[in-house]
Symmetry: C2
Subunit: 200 residues, 2 copies
């Protein structure tokens, strides 16, 4: 989403590609929390300085890996079929979106966990801004008068990778149960049944 005034040099592009390949493979083999940038550099045959020049820091590299699958996800909620895409009423799109975010996070759970313990810049950068803008737009329609941007942050905070993992592993909730509870929360926020509610 940012223009690159001078196009990337050939060797730089080659190295970026190689680094991403190696990092993906090492994560698949040893798990994301074992990822050492020193080792990635050595394995990719470049200096560690090159890794940092290309990706800024550890979280930057992780975002690059996340981005590979992110585009398809964004297509779905920006221009895909309802209920997540345009066409369904806002409240319904919100619920479909949140459910999809849960799946999205589970899909690359380790990577999202890593990103979330990076710097704030990393946490709220990357795809977060896109998700937030989208959700805030829908909320503004579904619940005019409320602070849509705050609510968007609050809902996204409820689907952060750490919390989901905690609820799954420590509280023994299934992913379905999490989605159901989230659905209930979204219903409340968008003006659903005030005190009773239909079954999940």
């Amino acid at each position: 989403m940012i223009g690159q005034p001078p196009p990337e040099r050939a060797d730089a592009a080659r190295n970026r590609q190689k680094i991403i390949e190696v990092a993906s493979r090492m994560i698949a083999e040893h798990g994301a929390d074992q990822l050492s940038l020193d080792e990635v550099a050595k394995e990719a045959g470049v200096g560690v300085g090159t890794v940092y020049r290309r990706f800024g820091d550890r979280a930057g590299l992780v975002w690059a890996l996340i981005d590979e699958r992110e585009h398809r996800f964004q297509q779905a909620f920006l221009s895909g079929p309802p209920p997540i895409g345009p066409g369904a009423p806002p409240a319904e799109r919100i619920r479909a979106f949140l459910s999809a975010v849960v799946d999205r996070v589970m899909d690359q759970e380790d990577l999202f966990l890593l990103v979330e313990l990076g710097s704030p810049k990393a946490r709220f950068g990357g795809p977060y801004k896109v998700h937030h803008t989208h959700l805030a737009g829908l909320l503004a329609q579904a619940r005019p008068g409320a602070d849509a941007r705050f609510l968007a942050d609050a809902l996204l905070a409820s689907v952060n990778a750490y919390l989901i993992r905690y609820q799954r592993d420590e509280r023994g909730m299934s992913v379905e149960a999490i989605k159901s509870a989230l659905d209930d929360l979204a219903l409340s926020v968008t003006g659903g049944p005030p005190t009773s509610r239909r079954r999940g």
Copy 2:
């Protein structure tokens, strides 16, 4: 809240005290993000191994510092005067509690920021469990039939230190505005006005 079968030895207690003192002073002088455990150890006149034996890791030490003010806060919502303490209706206590949590986080903002980038064990340990149990209890009363424990996690996720700081510094929201929006969210969740609502 955990029994300690063998009481702590005198030298160990002395060292714990000394380490906490030194850490508090160093944070007051240089800021929490500059806190180096090596330096704390040297300054306290103990080996770095002693620091880790006593506090487990960096986040453990930070919790110990947070705990010093935590007790007074817990008194307030467990047995203090309404609306945060017993006596007020649950929905009102929830809103008062959330507002107080925001103040609590702002009070030791740097420390909460540090804790939140520790391991999950650190994040959901310590005071978190107490806050969660309290909030879930109130939610179960205010909104029977809903998944109170999930909702408690979701609301607490909305008041995490990173998010508050982000809203304050990047979005330019005042603490009052944050509290007001949070109040709105809590009203929705506890069965407040479905779509319109009174002004914050």
